[in-house]
């Protein structure tokens, strides 16, 4: 977590020298996490941060979120856990607000093996629509490839869906942001030659504010 925060801060500090625009912000994060079946469901909240860089046709962001998950009501789960999720998105603007997107996601769980640590590479598209000066809507969809889990297994079908809102000054100096992210990961694992479906699903909302730096 500390390393991730340090990387986020370094990005924010280094970027203005060469970047066209940099946004940094803090977020309140809410999550719903499910694994295996209805009995293992958690929800919780935490804090997050974002650093976003725009440079010509390229843009990218690094996000970090730390959520303290508790078993949700009606869940058979008994252990709490903390999820630290790091996301990286790199985009290349195509046209009409549509960008190709790729990136990386990593979720660390503490204590270990309470649920699955998870890493994957994402690839997809993002649409950005300007409702007015300083007001933007975002919609993105990614395939999560090369998924890896701390407990082993594979996920041939793993998708991510996102909805975002950004409202602020036209010059991008101050912004209110809200971001929704839904992940469905159809994890499969093999124990003693038998395949088991161990699906994972997470819905996360990030609500926060960001300031614009640089030119």
């Amino acid at each position: 977590m500390k390393r991730a925060l340090l990387a986020l801060a370094l990005c924010a500090l280094a970027a203005p020298a060469s970047a066209q625009f940099v946004n940094v912000g803090v977020q309140g994060v809410f999550g719903d996490y499910r694994e295996l079946g209805p009995a293992l469901s958690y929800n919780g909240g935490g804090l997050g941060g974002i650093a976003e860089v725009n440079w010509h046709k390229f843009s990218g962001d690094f996000q970090i979120a730390k959520i303290n998950y508790n078993p949700s009501s009606g869940s058979a789960a008994t252990d709490k856990f903390t999820s630290t999720q790091f996301d990286a998105h790199l985009r290349w603007f195509l046209a009409s607000g549509v960008s190709l997107e790729t990136g990386y996601t990593k979720r660390d769980i503490s204590p270990d093996f309470t649920t699955q640590d998870f890493t994957a590479i994402r690839a997809g598209v993002r649409a950005n629509y300007g409702l007015g000066p300083g007001v933007n809507l975002l919609l993105r969809g990614n395939y999560l490839a090369a998924a890896k889990f701390s407990g082993g297994g594979t996920a041939p079908f793993a998708l991510e869906l996102g909805l975002g809102l950004s409202v602020g000054k036209a010059n991008n100096r101050y912004r209110f942001t809200a971001d929704y992210e839904f992940q469905r990961i159809d994890r499969k694992t093999t124990i003693s030659g038998t395949d088991y479906k161990v699906p994972i699903q997470q819905a996360m909302a990030r609500v926060g504010a960001a300031i614009g730096l640089g030119r």
Binding site: F30, R34, G132, L163, L165, A178, Y180, F182, R184
Partner: protein, 345 residues
């Protein structure tokens, strides 16, 4: 017979005295006055003697000219005095190059000696700049003068503001020049006092004569530059678009896709999610869509108006360039008035 001789002699004396009388002023120097008196009495040897005595004394330019004229006239009527007469007249012409003798009142011998002296000298005589008024390019200032021998003639107009060469040629006799009173580029000369200088050169001999003139320039009516194209005004570069449902529609579309996608992607094996996160963001998106729909739209660049304004600007630049060209021509069409300034002023 005696009466007749006296009459002829009297006529000759009065004719011989004519060059002196032409000067019209009595000499200041007493010796010269006595010389003139001796000349009037036809006592030519005494007149010559007294005139030479007078020249040995301090004389003013007028007396000097008169003394040499007397000597020339006296020598011309003396036997073997022609060369001396010519030399005396040369001195007269050096003092006053404009000096002329009245051919009707001057004895032939005197006149011949004077003209011989004139023909052997390099002089500019009768420099005259005529008064004139004209529009630049449509007239010129007449300048006349006479060069007594073939020589290279250079005519200039000189002032503190400008100096131009009017003419440069080889001339002899009467010269007529037309001076357009313009600079080399065709612009009129600045108003002010000028000196028209005529320099003549022939081998080692040179002579210079000048005439001062005043050059006055009339007022020039130039066209003012335009700040806008008459009859046309610029349009605003931005315009406020009409309110539209589009922001709410797009918000619904985005939220709908996210909601439907979530519903479609939810794994039934994991039970139904509470969708708190989706609701939070989707409500925010829809609310923003409603606000943006109701909000007065921000002005957006009006491309048509921008192009129209650009065309107007280009037209204005073109019109002002035309006006600048016209003004250059108008400034050249100024009326100039040239007036000679009398000597001594």
């Amino acid at each position: 017979m005696v009466r007749r001789l006296r009459a002829v002699l009297s006529l000759a004396v009065s004719a011989a005295a004519a060059p002196l009388a032409a000067q019209g002023t009595a000499p200041q120097n007493p010796t010269l006055r006595r010389a003139v008196q001796a000349f009037d009495n036809l006592n030519l040897p005494q007149a010559i003697s007294l005139a030479q005595q007078a020249l040995g004394q301090r004389l003013g330019p007028g007396d000097q000219e008169q003394a040499y004229t007397l000597l020339g006239s006296a020598y011309a009527n003396q036997p073997d005095g022609f060369d001396k007469a010519m030399n005396s007249f040369k001195q007269v012409l050096l003092i006053n190059s404009e000096r002329v003798l009245d051919p009707n009142r001057t004895p032939t011998k005197t006149l011949v000696a004077f003209n011989m002296a004139l023909s052997t000298m390099l002089l500019v005589r009768g420099l005259q700049v005529d008064s004139s008024s004209f529009v630049v390019g449509q007239g010129a200032v007449p300048i006349h003068f006479t060069v007594t021998s073939p020589a290279h003639v250079r005519v200039r107009a000189v002032s503190t503001k400008a100096s131009v060469t009017i003419d440069s040629t080889i001339e002899n006799g009467t010269v007529n020049i037309r001076w357009p009173a313009t600079l080399a580029n065709g612009d009129p000369l600045p108003a002010g006092d000028y000196t028209v200088v005529v320099d003549v050169t022939a081998e080692q001999n040179s002579f210079s004569s000048s005439q001062r003139v005043h050059l006055a320039a009339g007022a020039v009516d130039t066209l003012p530059h335009l700040t806008s194209v008459p009859g046309y005004s610029k349009l605003p570069d931005t315009e406020v678009p009409p309110r539209s449902w589009r922001p709410l529609g797009v918000a619904f579309l985005y939220a709908g896709i996210a909601g439907a996608g979530t519903l479609a992607l939810e794994n039934s094996q994991l039970g139904s999610a509470n969708r708190r996160e989706l609701s939070l963001v989707a409500v925010g998106v829809l609310a923003t869509g409603v606000v943006m729909m109701l909000k007065k739209p921000s002005p957006v660049p009006a491309q048509g108006n921008i192009l129209y304004n650009k065309l107007l600007d280009e037209q204005l630049i073109r019109r002002n360039a035309d006006i600048a060209t016209q003004n250059v021509a108008l400034r050249r069409q100024v009326r100039l008035t040239v007036t000679p300034i009398p000597a001594g002023k």
